[in-house]
Subunit: 201 residues, 2 copies
DNA sequence: AATAAAACATGACAATTGTCATATTTTGAG
DNA sequence: CTCAAAATATGACAATTGTCATGTTTTATT
């Protein structure tokens, strides 16, 4: 289990690279991105400390990475050769069960995300994103919940499958309605209950 | 491990039900469905024989089912109390590794689906669906690949996040362009290469 | 502090997809 | 075989979202 650091402009691995390591986020956050042939990008998930990645199918059959892992700012990642990882899981039922549980959670998340993408409007999808950001990386503050992950409007757009312009317009509406305030460097969720209402309306 | 049969109009379990069993499809196919508060439905996946379900996180922490499992026609399902399932996995590293591999594959699938929903137009999403149907349940025929799962236009619409009318219109265009023929009872993929081209254009 | 780059913002217009209404055809149960 | 229900089909129109163009503000680097 070795520790590796990555910084701005680097990649941990890219879509199509051969899978060699199993990873865990130690510090910072990591973006999982997939892109289509015409250059459009989609951010599947922002991984936080403790999250496993590349623990999945690609590691088994020698397939290549299904997506790109990109550090958001400076990150520190633990990694282990995939053979050692599998050996460890085989020898350690507790670890294996933990990975099963983790993958199950991730699968549920991914399916919930697919549902939102399939059924909801752009503003509802953004509201859902803001809610989960508040829950997963929110820091309570006097007038709301600050999102500790730094996400630009473009990042948010990529996470919910809309254009940057649409994300900007909707966030402007949210700001006017006092649901949120600030931008990437200091995004604050000001009215979580109303966002929840909007997400399911 | 007991076998249970289900027929039309029944449910194997419904969204919100407590999780008691781990399941495997033995015969027939099973729809995994999630619905939103306003009655819209989204079909996450059609499970085929050999597929595991409810093998995921919900089974761990006593959470309820995140979606509904609905038989498509007559199906036969094997099931096992979740406690016995976990005990079995703990005692059997090969089985546990197999479940990890399976969940990883499903997670990749779900993320690929999220990407398609986030980035592609309705016609591209339908083309992607037809491609995966051809691959996963296709039966070669003189003039194409017959899809052995019976899916109405509404089913397809629910699988790619569009309205039934949109699915009907796009399938009509595909039919005119000789990419497909027939409806639910006898859907045939006639030009897989062109569908692949369309899906990535 | 200066400056280039990135992010944010907004308008005008186009394209896509949804909604609602209404037929027609197909399927399945009795 | 008959008949009701479900599925398919199509038109007119509305709503949503994307595209492109352009300008301002913020951020980061020297």
């Amino acid at each position: 289990m070795t520790e590796t650091r990555y910084g701005k402009g680097q990649y941990i691995f890219r879509e199509g690279d051969p899978t060699e390591y199993f990873h865990i986020v130690k510090e910072g956050s990591v973006k999982c991105v997939k892109s289509s042939l015409d250059g459009k990008e989609c951010t599947l998930k922002v991984l936080m400390p403790g999250d496993l990645f590349c623990c999945d199918a690609s590691a088994f059959d020698g397939a290549s990475h299904p997506g790109t892992a990109q550090p958001m700012g400076d990150v520190s990642v633990l990694r282990m050769k995939k053979d050692a990882y599998f050996k460890m899981l085989r020898a350690n039922p507790d670890a294996a069960m933990e990975v099963i549980r983790y993958l199950g959670t991730r699968l549920n998340e991914a399916q919930e995300k697919a549902k939102v993408l399939a059924l909801d409007r752009a503003d509802q999808r953004l509201a859902s994103l803001l809610i989960s950001l508040a829950e997963r990386s929110g820091v309570p503050e006097p007038n709301g919940i600050r999102v500790s992950v730094r996400l630009t409007r473009q990042d948010m757009a990529n996470m919910v499958g809309v254009t940057t312009e649409t994300a900007i317009r909707i966030m402007a509406r949210f700001k006017k309605a006092r649901l949120v305030s600030g931008t990437a460097a200091r995004l604050v969720i000001r009215d979580l209950p109303k966002l929840r209402l909007l997400a399911s309306t």
